[in-house]
């Protein structure tokens, strides 16, 4: 006869969880949701910072000259494609371009055009060819070409804008909001940035359309050497009506912008973690109550208090470990849905994937899950271990 007793206290604890599969599943689900929420939050924090950094790096822009006012708000709006109510004189561009530290500079005029009939607002951006070195990811689709002149009524559409408008290169369309007819000279390939949804026209055309002659919304600048940022910033700051915002400062501003949203989600995650800890506590207390007689039996068989404690604590830890594993999987699977919700709260979110479920995020979540399990399991396990063997054996459910 082949006897293979491969079970230990751990095996016994594991099998005890299978006695009430529905209750075990419910408890594990509760922990999973809490851990998934926590994982999403942590992954969002990581991903947001990473994507923001990547997007700012990709821009090739080290600083922005914006009109006086709140510099970070202005720069954020310009970067993410929102119009400004104030503007810079065109002379600021000439001065900026002449600075010895500046490699490339590009003037921008951005205006929003509300289109209530379509239920959306378009962003029109006046640019010159000087923008092209600062947007290295720009690729024109086949058949596209740059504006024929600085004053032409030509438009280059972002990939999404072209899809929304159902326009291709060579098409003409009338824009009732501006009272002009435009010819599509180019369509940009999708870049995953805010550019995808914008309408680009020659700067002078934009200034004329929006009655802003010789005015600019911002000037994007790339320096010859990033190490010159400090001194260039000091000089450019002296241009009348303009102020400098560096990309490093921008990064901090963006992170602050999402700070309040993160606090909200953190509170939700903390609440979910607390609820899941309570669900483990309730499950384990019910387990102790249901199995009081059995605990008495174990004591009669020679189980010590610490072994009874260990058995119940292990059951609780298993619930938490299972919940953590499923929670991380859930965060991975449902991450895109969570990202959509988070994005709706953060208006200036980067375009790339915001959830970065890295190994340290997974480890942190599993650690928190395990702490929940151990923390919530201590009291029921202690209660079980303190039961008098004789009282436990007399117990009738």
């Amino acid at each position: 006869m082949g006897i293979s007793p491969t079970f230990g206290i751990g095996g016994l604890a594991w099998r005890n969880l299978t006695r009430r599969p529905f209750r075990t599943s419910l408890t594990v689900s509760g922990v999973s949701v809490a851990v998934a929420l926590l994982a999403s939050l942590l992954a969002f924090g990581k991903g947001y910072e990473r994507e923001l950094s990547r997007e700012l790096d990709a821009m090739g822009i080290q600083m922005m000259l914006v009109p006086l006012g709140c510099p970070y708000d202005a720069a954020a709006r310009v970067l993410k494609g929102n119009a400004l109510d104030v503007s810079l004189p065109a002379s600021a561009f000439v001065k900026a371009k002449q600075d010895s530290a500046v490699q490339d500079a590009a003037p921008l005029l951005m205006t929003t055009l509300p289109r209530p009939a379509e239920g959306r607002t378009d962003l029109w951006v006046g640019v010159t060819s000087e923008i092209r070195p600062l947007k290295p990811w720009w690729k024109l689709t086949e058949g596209s070409h740059w504006f024929s002149s600085d004053t032409s009524d030509s438009v280059i559409l972002g990939a999404e804008a072209a899809e929304t408008e159902l326009r291709r290169v060579g098409d003409s369309f009338y824009s009732p909001e501006t009272g002009r007819k435009f010819k599509v000279c180019g369509v940009l390939e999708r870049s995953g940035t805010a550019d995808d949804s914008q309408f680009f026209v020659p700067l002078k055309t934009a200034q004329s359309m929006f009655h802003q002659p010789d005015r600019l919304t911002a000037i994007a600048i790339r320096l010859k050497d990033p190490a010159l940022t400090g001194e260039a910033s000091t000089r450019l700051q002296t241009i009348p009506g303009a102020q400098v915002v560096t990309m490093t400062e921008m990064m901090g501003t963006f992170l602050n912008l999402v700070g309040s949203v993160r606090t909200l989600i953190q509170s939700l995650a903390a609440l979910a973690v607390l609820i899941s800890a309570l669900s483990i506590l309730t499950t384990m207390l019910s387990t102790v109550l249901e199995r009081t007689n059995e605990i008495g039996l174990f004591r009669a068989m020679g189980a010590s208090r610490s072994q009874v404690f260990g058995l119940l604590a292990l059951e609780s830890a298993f619930l938490a470990i299972l919940g953590s594993v499923f929670g991380v999987l859930l965060a991975g699977v449902a991450g895109s849905g969570v990202e959509r919700v988070v994005r709706s709260f953060v208006s200036l979110a980067p375009q790339g994937r915001l959830l970065a479920l890295t190994s340290d995020v997974i480890l942190q979540c599993c650690g928190v899950g395990l702490l929940i399990g151990i923390g919530a399991g201590v009291y029921p396990a202690w209660r079980a271990s303190r039961l008098s063997p004789i009282e436990a054996l007399r117990w009738e459910n």
């Binding site: 006869m1 006897i3 007793p5 079970f7 230990g8 206290i9 016994l12 099998r15 005890n16 299978t18 006695r19 007689n293 059995e294 039996l297 174990f298 004591r299 009669a300 068989m301 020679g302 189980a303 010590s304 208090r305 072994q307 063997p389 004789i390 054996l393």
Partner: protein, 228 residues
């Protein structure tokens, strides 16, 4: 009758008093007796006479209010929880009326359970015991696949896995029909013939009569000790 010389259990003036509110209940009152190695003793009496209380005191599951108990030379009435746990693990095997098998474990795992708590390996011993109780062919089965008699045989094998000095059984045939009850009686007799000391609390006259001696309890007093 078996010739016996060595005392394996000695109880002196054993008294157990419970308090129920302001009321004082003398479950046992000055009980004195001794049991020698290899004896088969039954404890009989009406419900509430103190039988189970006595068995619990013998099994170190409870402590007496006064008096002493000695098991295999060890005074057990004032042991700490850790010491009494160890004594139960090493010297005592319990059999209960309700079998107490763990539903998620197989027959062999149920039998091995006390070795888990005692941190002992007893693989060969489990095989022997399964053969002894006639359930080798059922070793992989779960308790719900067994009859009542088979479950009690598994419980007896489990009680013997750590080679105890004493086997204590509380109404072992109480949940069984007469056929299975007789089978358990035969098993106890066989185990006793092999040298095991058995103390059984029972209302079953056949089982009580099969013992060498009966300890008759009434209202916590030991009435008589009749040699069979």
């Amino acid at each position: 009758m078996k010739s016996v010389d060595n005392v394996v259990l000695r109880a002196e003036s054993l008294t157990k008093i419970y308090r129920r509110g302001v009321e004082e209940v003398r479950a046992l009152d000055g009980v004195t007796f001794s049991i020698e190695e290899g004896e088969f003793v039954s404890i009989v009496g009406q419900s509430g006479s103190g039988k189970t209380t006595l068995l619990n005191l013998i099994g170190c599951m409870d402590t007496p209010t006064s008096g002493t108990i000695e098991i295999d030379g060890h005074e057990t009435s004032r042991l700490s929880d850790r010491q009494s746990t160890r004594l139960r693990s090493e010297k005592i095997g319990f059999v209960f009326q309700h079998f107490g098998l763990i539903p998620t474990l197989s027959v062999e795992e149920n039998i091995m359970l006390p070795t888990l708590f005692a941190r002992r390996a007893a693989k060969g011993k489990a095989s022997e015991l399964l053969e002894q109780v006639g359930l080798s062919h059922r070793h992989k089965h779960r308790p719900h696949e067994l009859s009542g008699g088979e479950m009690q045989r598994v419980a007896i094998a489990r009680a013997l896995i750590n080679s105890p000095a004493l086997l204590l059984a509380d109404e072992p045939t109480g949940n069984l029909d007469s056929t299975n009850g007789e089978a358990i009686l035969r098993l106890f007799t066989d185990l006793n013939r092999a040298g095991l000391t058995i103390i059984v609390v029972t209302h079953n006259p056949a089982l009580a009569d099969a013992a060498h001696r009966q300890l008759n309890l009434q209202d916590g007093h030991l009435l008589l000790e009749s040699q069979l």
